[in-house]
Symmetry: C2
Subunit: 121 residues, 2 copies
DNA sequence: TGAACATATGAACAGTTGTTCATATGTTCA
DNA sequence: TGAACATATGAACAACTGTTCATATGTTCA
């Protein structure tokens, strides 16, 4: 039933297993979902943000606390917290002029743990 | 027992909760571990690599198959596969001149799933 | 109200990264 | 052996990203 497949112009090589390609294609999530997933991991893919997340896993903290803890400028931390918040990884509450940040939900912890498990193998 | 903390020169703001900072600092993994964790997520943080991983979750494939499936050049896919392999996310086996790639272990699936769960909330 | 302070933000710059192009490597088969 | 093909790789370029610097916003308190 399977014939030798004709070459496809977009790619600089022949299709080796067209049936496999078709099968896999049918199981792939939407382009948009995969893009969003990559964007999510991109947020985790920075040392500073990882440190912030791991810190907030231990305790709620204000921007200044985090800056001191990580020995970085307040501005830098603030920029990163904005990115983390946009990705729904952290949330904040205001108390006077102080803004306290914390992890948004339990999933964030699980994602961090899962990654760490992969490393320690 | 808690006194007002003196300002620390490295940061452009006062320490608000020195006790919290100290406590969190004691629970943080090593600088190196957190760096490695960020590096791991950085690998997941690219659309092309996410597509490759998700594809390999469905079936073992050769470089050419993936290139056709994702409508990208063989060179680009090959470059990305090297990065994925260095991160121990994929493995390969050779059969003549064809190289088949597959997910390295079960953790990769779990990390992908965990991320997707976070998105669909 | 105005000084002091915690936080946010825009612009700019340097460092990083993904793709492309050209080409190399390594395998098969006639 | 040499042509054909699957894959790998180095260099270069454009696009993206994190930090810094300057400054704005918003709150407290004397």
């Amino acid at each position: 039933m399977s014939h030798i497949s004709p070459p496809i112009e977009r790619c600089d090589c022949e299709v080796i297993h067209q049936d496999v390609v078709n099968q896999v294609r049918s199981t792939l999530p939407s382009e948009e979902s995969l893009y969003d997933l990559a964007e999510l991991y991109k947020v985790f893919g920075d040392s500073t943000r990882i440190k912030i997340l791991w810190s907030l896993d231990a305790a709620e903290m204000c921007v200044c606390d985090i800056a001191v803890l990580l020995n970085m400028t307040q501005s830098s931390i603030s920029h990163q917290l904005r990115i983390l918040k946009q990705a729904h990884l952290v949330k904040n509450r205001k108390e006077g002029k102080i803004v306290f940040y914390s992890l948004d939900d339990e999933h964030v912890r699980q994602i961090l743990d899962q990654g760490m498990i992969h490393l320690t193998e």
